[in-house]
């Protein structure tokens, strides 16, 4: 999942940065090109560090009656979602996630403000986990 996050964040930044560097060099503004290259490199390194920190702080635990998630680099967030409140579990797979064979589980309750997402689950485990969580979900609309 670190690769997915890193590529998803750093790749667009690097592509735009390199395009700007090439444009500056072609125009003959060598100094500007050097500055842009430095900024792009610093940005890419910053993104990689950020991704590493985000991954380190992304934890989740399935207890007997609730799912607990903790994440966040600057603002640290923690969520607790009881299984019986789960209304729906979506499996999301973007292009990068498909390329790396992982998936993201998004848990939905009757509240639109619930923040519960489990990223980076290997595809073969995602479906199993989804079924295990749904097996513990409520049997009615739970509102």
């Amino acid at each position: 999942v670190r690769w997915v996050w890193a590529l998803g964040s750093a790749l667009p930044l690097t592509v735009v940065g390199l395009a700007a560097v090439i444009a500056a060099v072609v125009q003959g503004w060598l100094a500007l090109g050097v500055v842009l290259a430095a900024v792009t490199a610093a940005g890419a390194i910053g993104v990689l560090v950020w991704v590493r920190l985000a991954w380190d702080r992304w934890t989740w635990a399935a207890s007997s009656d609730a799912l607990e998630l903790r994440h966040g680099v600057i603002s640290r967030r923690a969520s607790l979602v009881p299984y019986h409140r789960i209304q729906q579990i979506d499996v999301h797979r973007g292009p990068l996630e498909r390329a790396f064979g992982i998936a993201r589980l998004v848990l939905r309750t009757a509240s639109a403000t619930t923040d519960a997402e489990i990223p980076g689950i290997p595809l073969d485990r995602a479906d199993t986990l989804r079924h295990r969580l749904l097996a513990r979900a409520g049997v009615d609309d739970a509102v």
Partner: protein, 529 residues
């Protein structure tokens, strides 16, 4: 009203095997698809017909003008008008086709609606999932003795409600009673993992065939005088009027001082007049929406349901099961504090199309503060349960943050003026000092409490808000802590409930307390004590 008034169609389903109520024939329970009342077309086509008549008259007038001696007007110039006429005619045709294509079936466990002219939609709403049922009568519907039935289920999108528009008034009332009765019966049979409803001590099972049960017990009725007080002390006036008047007077004073020729031209008088008119519009608008819009306001209990009726031109009857109330908010403002009054809002989990005024909440516009505890007890069925416990204040570190945050915000707001008018502008920095009392009051007002069945948040400086959430209604919990909060060991606690996009929250709780509440509030066992 007779059953023949609603147009019977094919009967694809076998008859119901459940006991048939005396209203069974009227409701055609388990019967075939039926259409809404044919007079619905009168309502939907009435305005269009008036529009057609107006446009046709205008068309003839244009044609007559087109034949005048100068001969400038031609059929080509009239083409846009013809297009408008065709569009206006198309609307009632479309409405009629939709009416034919739309049928509903009242089954013992669910309501089924089939609709759509080209694309057919088959929608099923199980009674067990009904959040609230409303009977809505517009002025035109009142004249025709019709009503719209709105049935809301939980959710965030627009597809969470079913609307039967329009039924005979008697049929709408009977159908509402039947759906509520079936919902209660089905829920009592099925098990719910959340256990018994919080505070919902049933007054008695609702029976639509009982004349006693169909009459709600009124708990609060507001007359015109009370609604006028509610309008004049509404937050939009308490906050909006000073802003409008203050801005107007400031502009007028500026013009009077530096306007020069403008002053001679009456600009000051014009601005003052506009200010007065804006203030009057604000007051009249609020009076209309409250005194007329909530005319005859009555809230009561009907069986295990809360019942609300209001409106003069648009009459609405809302019904919500007590167990479906997700959150109760008690709010006041400086003017209402002087009068010792508050307003109360009950939030349901219905979709955004339901509830009062298109929202998912019922508002009690005005209530004496000393009656809040008793009223909530009567309304929700358990006085002790809904009595707000003493609040736990926030830690001292939160006071520091409350003062610093507000002082910094005010300083940033006056900084441009300070720089622009330096050195005299430095006097504007005195405004930033207001952040100290502002932060102190905010800190003093904030607090929380958690009983075995309730979580309570209090906050607000101008508007005092008290948010009460039954624990069995908590969907999930969240905490968030930014770096400055982490330095002070503080965190913000959010409690997610269904139906309300703004989760109840309390800023700057002690981090350990917030984490303890995070673990405790949403657990299945917490709300069942």
């Amino acid at each position: 009203m007779t059953p023949s008034d609603d147009h019977a169609r094919r009967s694809p389903d076998p008859p119901s095997t459940t006991a048939r109520a005396p209203d069974a024939d009227l409701l055609a329970i388990g019967g075939g698809g039926r259409r809404t009342h044919v007079r619905t077309l009168v309502v939907s086509g009435g305005i269009a017909l008036a529009g057609i008549a107006f446009l046709v008259l205008q068309l003839f007038a244009q044609m007559a003008t087109g034949q005048d001696p100068d001969g400038d007007r031609t059929w080509g110039e009239l083409a846009p008008l013809v297009v408008v006429v065709v569009v206006v005619i198309a609307r009632p045709v479309y409405d009629t086709a939709s009416w034919f294509a739309r049928t509903y079936r009242v089954l013992p466990t669910e309501l089924v609606i089939d609709e759509g002219i080209l694309t057919r939609h088959h929608r099923v709403l199980p009674y067990a999932r009904v959040q609230q049922v409303d009977v809505h009568q517009s002025l035109m519907a009142q004249v025709l003795n019709l009503a719209e039935l709105r049935i809301e289920s939980a959710g965030e999108g627009g597809d969470t409600s079913m609307r039967l528009r329009l039924l005979d008034r008697t049929l709408a009332d009977r159908l509402r009673a039947y759906i509520l009765e079936r919902r209660g019966a089905l829920q009592s049979v099925g098990s719910t993992p959340t256990g018994p409803p919080c505070g919902a001590t049933p007054v008695g099972r609702h029976d639509p065939t009982s004349s006693e049960a169909t009459v709600p017990t009124p708990l609060l009725q507001l007359d015109g005088g009370q609604l006028t007080v509610a309008a004049l002390t509404h937050s939009s006036l308490v906050v909006g009027a000073p802003v409008v008047v203050g801005a107007g007077l400031w502009v007028a004073a500026t013009l009077a001082l530096v306007g020069g020729d403008l002053r001679a031209g009456g600009a000051v008088v014009a601005v003052t007049t506009v200010t007065i008119l804006a203030f009057a519009a604000l007051v009249l608008g609020q009076l209309y929406s409250t005194v007329v819009g909530q005319h005859g306001y009555t809230i009561g209990v009907q069986g295990d349901d809360l019942y609300l009726r209001y409106g003069l031109f648009e009459v609405r009857q809302l019904t919500i099961p007590r167990r479906r109330v997700q959150q109760i908010t008690v709010v006041d403002n400086p003017l209402r504090r002087l009068l010792g009054a508050v307003s109360i809002t009950l939030h349901s989990a219905a979709g955004l199309g339901g509830g009062q005024g298109g929202a998912t909440r019922f508002e009690v516009p005005l209530l004496p503060r000393h009656r809040v505890g008793t009223f909530l007890g009567e309304l929700m069925g358990d006085a002790q349960l809904w009595r707000a416990p003493p609040l736990t204040p926030r830690p001292h570190a939160a006071l520091r943050r409350a003062v610093v945050r507000r002082t910094v915000v005010l300083a940033a707001a006056v900084a441009p003026a300070t720089l622009a008018f330096f050195p005299w502008g430095l006097a504007a920095l005195a405004v930033a000092a207001l952040g100290v009392p502002w932060g102190r009051v905010a800190h003093r007002r904030a607090g929380h409490a958690a009983t075995p069945v309730l979580v309570v948040f209090a906050r607000g400086v101008l508007h005092h808000r008290l948010e009460l959430v039954p624990l069995p209604r908590v969907q999930s919990c969240r905490t968030a802590a930014n770096p400055l909060q982490r330095i002070s060991r503080l965190a913000t606690l959010h409690v997610d409930v269904a139906g309300d996009p703004h989760a109840p929250r309390l800023y700057d709780l002690d981090a350990a307390t917030a984490d303890a509440l995070l673990q405790r509030l949403p657990t299945p066992s917490s709300g069942l004590g």
